[in-house]
């Protein structure tokens, strides 16, 4: 059965239409249309909004706000979003990046959602018509979320304070074994003063490595300094097993790759 697409000029009207049973929001199509093509018959109607605000990128007052319909390709080529370029380019191939949106990536199940991992490390706020939510809260409740995501916003760290790594078996493009994003603050003596580490593929959705974050505080970014953090990296994880890697493998290689990221 074909799906019926309903297009609305405003997010408010689209939100109202999304209250109907059997409807899903259509962003770039890389998740929703894929599900339909795979035979997901739970969806009978697709809702989308063409509100221009959803495609806007605003950088002002030390804050970045990205509309939910902005594509990975648009982020990757934006001259002022250099810190996010690597994470945006980690998503799919060129065609997927021309379609996949910021809002959609927040809903992408593991092993997808590499960009959301970066946003989680950046402590982004997720905007809807009802207000803003911390991304961690949003991700925890995303399965029951019906409000259309309108934007994500964050305060960019210093250029050298953000690190991102995607590990895949196929180069240059492959599905994630895992991905890691970290925002690190360093004191004058080089020790870590703040740490926010996000992991992809280590649960069914992006998660924080909170024990590892605490173990990094006051430590230097040396092999010995990061050892306690690496030992704690797998705490609380529940990795997926898929054709790319088993949960066991992901847990085994997580400290290796986290170490490489922290020492890079």
């Amino acid at each position: 059965m074909a799906l019926a697409l309903h297009t609305f000029a405003t997010v408010k009207d689209a939100n109202a239409a999304l209250k109907a049973a059997g409807t899903r929001y259509l962003g770039g199509g890389t998740l929703v249309i894929r599900a339909a093509n795979e035979g997901d018959v739970s969806v009978s109607g697709l809702i989308r909004s063409i509100d221009p605000a959803l495609s806007a990128i605003a950088i002002a007052g030390g804050k970045v706000s990205i509309g939910a319909s902005v594509t990975m390709a648009a982020i990757a080529r934006h001259p002022e979003l250099g810190i996010l370029a690597k994470a945006a380019r980690a998503v799919g191939g060129p065609a997927v990046r021309n379609m996949a949106t910021v809002g959609g990536n927040l809903f992408a199940p593991a092993p997808y959602g590499d960009f959301a991992v970066a946003l989680l490390a950046l402590d982004a706020m997720v905007g809807t018509d009802d207000g803003e939510l911390p991304i961690e809260t949003f991700l925890a409740g995303r399965d029951g979320s019906r409000a259309i995501v309108t934007s994500v916003s964050f305060t960019p760290p210093k250029a050298d304070g953000f690190r991102f790594l995607k590990v895949s078996r196929v180069k240059p493009k492959g599905v994630s074994v895992l991905s890691i994003a970290a925002v690190l603050g360093q004191a004058a003596d080089g020790t870590v003063s703040s740490a926010r580490i996000a992991l992809g593929c280590m649960a069914d959705r992006p998660m924080r490595a909170k024990t590892a974050e605490k173990a990094l505080l006051g430590r230097s970014l040396t092999k010995d300094g990061i050892a306690p953090a690496l030992a704690a990296a797998g705490e609380g994880t529940s990795p997926i097993t898929d054709p790319i890697a088993t949960a066991w493998y992901r847990n085994e290689v997580l400290p290796v790759h986290l170490g490489r990221l922290l020492l890079s």
Partner: protein, 160 residues
């Protein structure tokens, strides 16, 4: 199912069709319009065989709804040859044996065309990156990479 009107430019020709709402561009092109150059491979956005160029950007027609393309300019591999003369990319694919079963070829050529439109003299790494969303199970990729580089050289010689 209600039919919806959709109009777009396909390879320079105006097209207007009534389609079922929710029809993918791939199905509209193949089943309604008769352009079978985009192939339906995985229907998941993984293989790239359905790649087309929409308003200058590479897109996957299997994941794009036709009605979202209203007013767009769409290019497929079918529209590349002019006056019975193959496009330099098509010529290079034949000359370097970059096509075996041929199923991935239209998608590869679309991805390569977008690359050459923006980067006329790409490096080998840029070619590999541009083709990274397209899967070929026959050739091992090397002849395809060589074809794109050869087409780029042919373009630059023609321009000189």
């Amino acid at each position: 199912m209600a039919k919806v009107p959709v109009q777009f430019t396909l390879n320079g020709s105006e097209k207007a069709e009534f389609i079922d709402s929710g029809t993918t561009l791939l199905n509209a092109l193949r089943d309604k319009i008769g352009d079978t150059s985009p192939k339906g491979g995985c229907h998941q956005g993984t293989c790239g065989a359905c790649s087309v160029i929409i308003d200058g950007e590479l897109r996957l027609s299997c994941l794009t709804l036709a009605e979202t393309c209203d007013g767009a300019a769409i290019t497929t591999t079918l529209g590349l040859a002019e006056g019975g003369v193959m496009h330099p990319l098509q010529r290079a694919f034949l000359d370097t044996f970059a096509t075996q079963c041929g199923f991935c070829t239209p998608g590869m050529i679309m991805a390569a065309k977008v690359l050459l439109d923006h980067t006329p003299n790409p490096s080998r790494d840029e070619v590999i990156e541009a083709l990274s969303g397209n899967i070929c199970r026959c050739t091992g990729y090397e002849p395809i990479i060589q074809a794109v580089l050869r087409a780029a050289r042919a373009n630059s010689q023609n321009a000189a």
